[in-house]
């Protein structure tokens, strides 16, 4: 499924390029101004919106996973497909549902990211940044991905403003992966990866 998804991504990217061309469009959603200012720090309006919406999306996903019948089924299936099948959970449907759910989350993220400025067929590659986020937070930890996102974001911003001016152009994009490498050396399951239940 992962491979299919990657393949689908390149098909979509190329078809977008074919239909809309390779140049960028300007893209703004009319949203009420929500910029915040604390002393020297300025949070631009669209970033505040993006942060707020992602927290809402996060809460919705959490609610779905922990409070609905499908959520229980998803968590059961993620543990063992065969056990889930034996108790009447349609594992294939659950996989498709999770896939659709992630696509929905990505759609929200995509709109928010394009709202920062330009929209082009390359906007989708921002999704690659999710890899260090998820791995640093821990693959199976939901709260971990939130913290991981903050860590990676801060790391990128700090490196961008303090290290890149020293002459290391583009180091901003590498820094999260270096961080990921260090984290994986120390904690192979990520910072908040679930403790495996082991029976002794």
């Amino acid at each position: 499924m992962t491979i299919i998804t990657l393949g689908l991504a390149s098909v979509l990217r190329s078809s977008v390029q074919l239909i809309f061309g390779a140049h960028s469009y300007s893209f703004f959603i009319e949203l009420p101004n929500a910029s915040l200012e604390y002393g020297d720090i300025l949070f631009p309006s669209e970033r505040v919106w993006a942060g707020g919406l992602s927290i809402i999306a996060f809460a919705l996903v959490l609610f779905f996973l922990f409070r609905t019948r499908w959520g229980v089924a998803i968590r059961a299936t993620s543990e063992s497909q065969s056990k889930a099948m034996a108790f009447g959970i349609d594992a294939r449907f659950i996989l498709l549902m999770v896939w659709g759910l992630s696509a929905m989350c990505i759609a929200v993220a995509g709109v928010m990211i394009s709202n920062f400025g330009a929209l082009s067929y390359l906007t989708g590659s921002a999704g690659l940044r999710a890899i260090p986020v998820v791995l640093i937070g821990g693959m199976d930890s939901i709260g971990g991905s939130l913290i991981g996102g903050l860590i990676v974001g801060l790391c990128e911003a700090l490196v961008g403003s303090y290290i890149e001016p020293l002459g290391l152009v583009g180091f901003k994009d590498v820094a999260p992966y270096l961080l990921l490498l260090i984290v994986l050396f120390i904690r192979p399951y990520g910072l908040f990866g679930t403790v495996r239940i082991e029976r002794v």
């Binding site: 019948r69 229980v72 089924a73 968590r75 059961a76 543990e79 063992s80 497909q81 065969s82 056990k83 889930a84 099948m85 034996a86 108790f87 009447g88 959970i89 349609d90 679930t194 239940i197 029976r199």
Partner: protein, 261 residues
């Protein structure tokens, strides 16, 4: 009535596990299947419950029927919904990372009626041990509690037929006894049970009928009481055959096996 007609099953298209099995499990009875490791007991249960695809197995011949309806080619989800036939896998098939309550809710996934909550309370009545552990993750409970949870989850699917794979696996004798009492009680309340067991003695004592599987074939079938008395079964499966001690060298299982076929 669950009937299996000349069933042949292969894994990965080449490994032949069941070589033509015919069996009948009458409604309201406990049918016990015993056999050595690798005889095909688990495969048989997987085939009946529609789980074979999951393990890359295939039914190449024969049929499985509940009443007049064939189960062949149906998914496990359909089989549970339409026929109330649920397979409790071996080694305590509970979800370790879910709490006990969530486990029961997950098992009730295929149902949409309003009685799920009430049924859950019924399960807690049935197994008071679980009541205290409701919010506990199932992975942290003991083996006996997990097996009871597995039965509870099974009950949540509103079943009529129980396929139980080795309930006594890795459990203390006392707990095993309790489990068998529970199975007997379920049976008295009208459940059809197909029980696969290594603990042949205990299983045959609660069973109505029994059969012995060997190399994917049924080699012996009959009322459970008769099997308990059978010389060969006593020697090979109950560990109490001839009086004098034998060394393995003299046993010559292969010769005795031949007589059965």
């Amino acid at each position: 009535m669950l009937s299996i007609e000349n069933l042949r099953v292969v894994y990965h298209d080449v490994i032949s596990i069941l070589n033509g099995i015919s069996l009948k499990a009458a409604s309201g009875e406990i049918s016990v299947i015993i056999g050595a490791n690798g005889a095909g007991k688990t495969t048989l249960l997987r085939a009946i419950s529609g789980m074979l695809k999951m393990f890359d197995g295939d039914i190449i011949e024969g049929d499985i029927k509940v009443g007049d309806f064939s189960l062949k080619g149906l998914d496990s989800t359909d089989i549970i919904k339409k026929f109330g036939l649920t397979y409790v896998m071996e080694d305590r098939p509970v979800f370790w990372y879910l709490t006990i309550e969530e486990n029961l809710a997950a098992a009730a996934y295929s149902r949409w009626d309003r009685t799920v909550k009430a049924d859950m309370e019924k399960v807690f009545d049935y197994f008071p041990v679980l009541n205290k552990l409701r919010q506990q993750k199932a992975g942290y409970t003991s083996g006996g509690e997990q097996q009871m949870l597995a039965i509870g989850m099974f009950l949540m699917t509103q079943p009529k037929i129980l396929l139980f794979d080795e309930p006594s696996l890795g459990l203390a004798p006392l707990i095993t006894e309790e489990l068998f009492r529970i199975i007997e009680r379920l049976n008295r309340e009208g459940m059809t049970v197909v029980l696969v067991e290594q603990n042949a003695h205990a299983a045959l004592q609660i069973g109505h009928r029994g059969c012995v599987l060997e190399n994917g074939r049924v080699v012996l079938e009959g009322p459970a009481a008769a099997l308990l008395e059978n010389e060969d079964v006593r020697e090979f499966y109950l560990g109490a055959g001839t009086k004098e001690r034998k060394s393995y060298q003299d046993a010559k299982r292969y010769k005795r096996r031949k007589r059965w076929l």
